[in-house]
């Protein structure tokens, strides 16, 4: 049977890997090129790289303003190098505004691209992208924020702008437009280690028939299990937990397997 995927997410900011908290605070982890051997040795199911660089937005309250641009590898060059030595599926997302952006990434070796802001602001873009490159190349990435009143809202531009749209409606629209998968991120859970927003995941998973990848909030391996069993996620992803513990990927897989979940060992 199809196995549940466990997917590390790597956030890239100006060519460096960073960790994030609530989409705001960004701390440098390392260089994506030198980190490659590490991810390769884990034999991961897939890798997702999200470019969260935002050099056209300056906000002094944000930690990310401190990360300098000079001398870093460009995203396209990172894709080239990564795809030359990683023989598992690679998804690249972030800053995709045109079909040409997609084409460039695929040509360099990306297998899939993740579209976020454009999926919300331009209704026809996902449809055009899926038609041009094929559904299986197109992942729609939905960043959902849960407000204090319990209502969810899809955020764009790196979690900075509210769209007024509900994530379930957004996911359905993405599916109808031809997206191959949904990458569902919780803005409020991001970096908190408090666990996935299970209700959010379950609602979206039940609303669509395409695969749903859950992300945002994992602090311990048990959270991955919850994402699958309670959240009904097709695949479980995380960023931070894989950065700070060696053997974390393997141990996470073992934890999932022990809980009876069909994973690739």
């Amino acid at each position: 049977m199809l196995k549940t995927r466990l997917i590390p997410v790597l956030l890239l900011k100006n060519g460096l890997i960073v960790r994030s908290e609530r989409f705001m605070y960004h701390q440098i982890i390392g260089d994506p090129i030198t980190q490659l051997e590490r991810y390769n040795s884990w034999g991961v199911d897939e890798l997702i790289y999200l470019d969260i660089s935002r050099d056209d937005v300056y906000d002094v309250r944000r930690e990310d303003a401190k990360i300098k641009t000079s001398g870093r590898t460009s995203l396209l060059d990172i894709i080239t190098v990564v795809s030359q030595s990683c023989f598992m599926p690679l998804t690249f997302g972030g800053r995709i505004r045109t079909l040409e952006d997609i084409r460039q990434r695929l040509e360099r070796g990306a297998d899939k691209v993740a579209i976020n802001t454009m999926a919300v602001t331009d209704a026809g873009f996902v449809r055009e992208a899926a038609r041009t490159f094929g559904n299986q190349c197109i992942v729609v990435s939905i960043d959902a924020l849960r407000h204090p009143d319990g209502r969810w809202e899809v955020m764009t531009v790196g979690g900075a702008q509210g769209s007024g749209i509900d994530p379930v409606a957004c996911a359905r629209a993405a599916e109808a437009a031809g997206a191959g998968e949904i990458l569902l991120n919780s803005v409020d859970r991001d970096g908190t280690a408090a666990g996935y927003d299970l209700e959010l995941i379950r609602r979206v998973a039940e609303a669509v028939r395409i695969p749903v990848i859950a992300c945002g909030g994992v602090g311990r391996f048990g959270h991955f299990v919850e994402g699958v069993t309670t959240g009904q996620a097709t695949a479980v992803a995380a960023a931070n937990i894989f950065h700070f513990t060696e053997l974390s990927y393997k141990r996470a897989k073992q934890h999932l397997a022990k809980a009876g979940i069909n994973v690739r060992i």
Binding site: M1, L2, N40, D45, D111, F133, G134, Q136, P211
Partner: protein, 226 residues
């Protein structure tokens, strides 16, 4: 940067000790990214040539047809660029080893029902239909790693571990007319044919270039075919 070599094959591996003008030709009709396939073959030590024109096929010792996206689009491009006669000559007449990947496997069929009815190469009699698992928890496209059961002897799959696992991402599948053409199955709401083989022709629904150890081993096996 060839870091991949040290992980997946011994440093001195020369797949073709008697190397005589061997070259893996990868058909490129502009439909999909061939870079992953190129990278994977390079990492197992094969000279690779991306073939943009039908005449390039003459120099290839092995032919690979990758493909991602819609059937009609893939077949359309293949025909537009004049690849069909050249492929028939290289594969059906000259019997060069052929590997079709994903859409490249589906195009072997007689016809496909994806977005209308479209004619394929017809090298493996059969139809391409949409995956329709009864179980509502099974999603389409079929995305991720799945175990594959090889059901007949074939040089391309011999020597793989007993339960190889490969990466899939597809919404349609080839249903061969002749049981003897079936090479491998996987389970996704029942048995799904995921590889076919007939004479020098092999088609795989999964992506060996994205399937780490098992995938690269399959590519090595393919390269060793004469």
């Amino acid at each position: 940067m060839d870091k991949g070599l040290s992980v997946f094959s011994p440093p001195s591996a020369n797949v073709w000790p008697d190397a005589v003008a061997r070259c893996v030709g990868i058909v490129n009709t502009g439909v999909c990214n061939v870079q992953s396939v190129v990278n994977a073959f390079r990492s197992v030590g094969a000279p690779v040539d991306v073939m943009d024109r039908p005449e390039d096929l003459a120099a290839a010792s092995h032919v690979v047809l990758p493909g991602v996206g819609a059937f009609a689009h893939g077949m359309g491009r293949l025909r537009e660029r004049g690849f069909v006669p050249a492929l028939e000559q290289a594969v059906l007449d000259q019997r060069k080893p052929f590997l079709g990947i994903c859409l490249g496997m589906q195009m072997l069929a007689s016809r496909s029902y994806e977005h209308g009815l479209h004619e394929g190469l017809g090298w493996i009699p059969g139809e391409v239909r949409r995956l329709a698992p009864q179980d509502p928890s099974l999603r389409v496209p079929h995305v991720g790693w799945n175990d594959v059961r090889v059901v007949k002897a074939c040089a391309a799959t011999d020597g793989l571990r007993p339960q190889p696992t490969f990466y899939f991402v597809h919404s349609y599948h080839l249903v061969p007319e002749r049981p003897e053409d079936v090479l491998a199955l996987c389970e996704y709401g029942g048995d799904v044919v995921v590889a076919v083989a007939r004479a020098n022709i092999v088609g795989v629904q999964f992506h060996p270039e994205k399937s780490l150890r098992d995938g690269l081993q399959l590519l090595r096996n393919f390269l060793a075919l004469a």
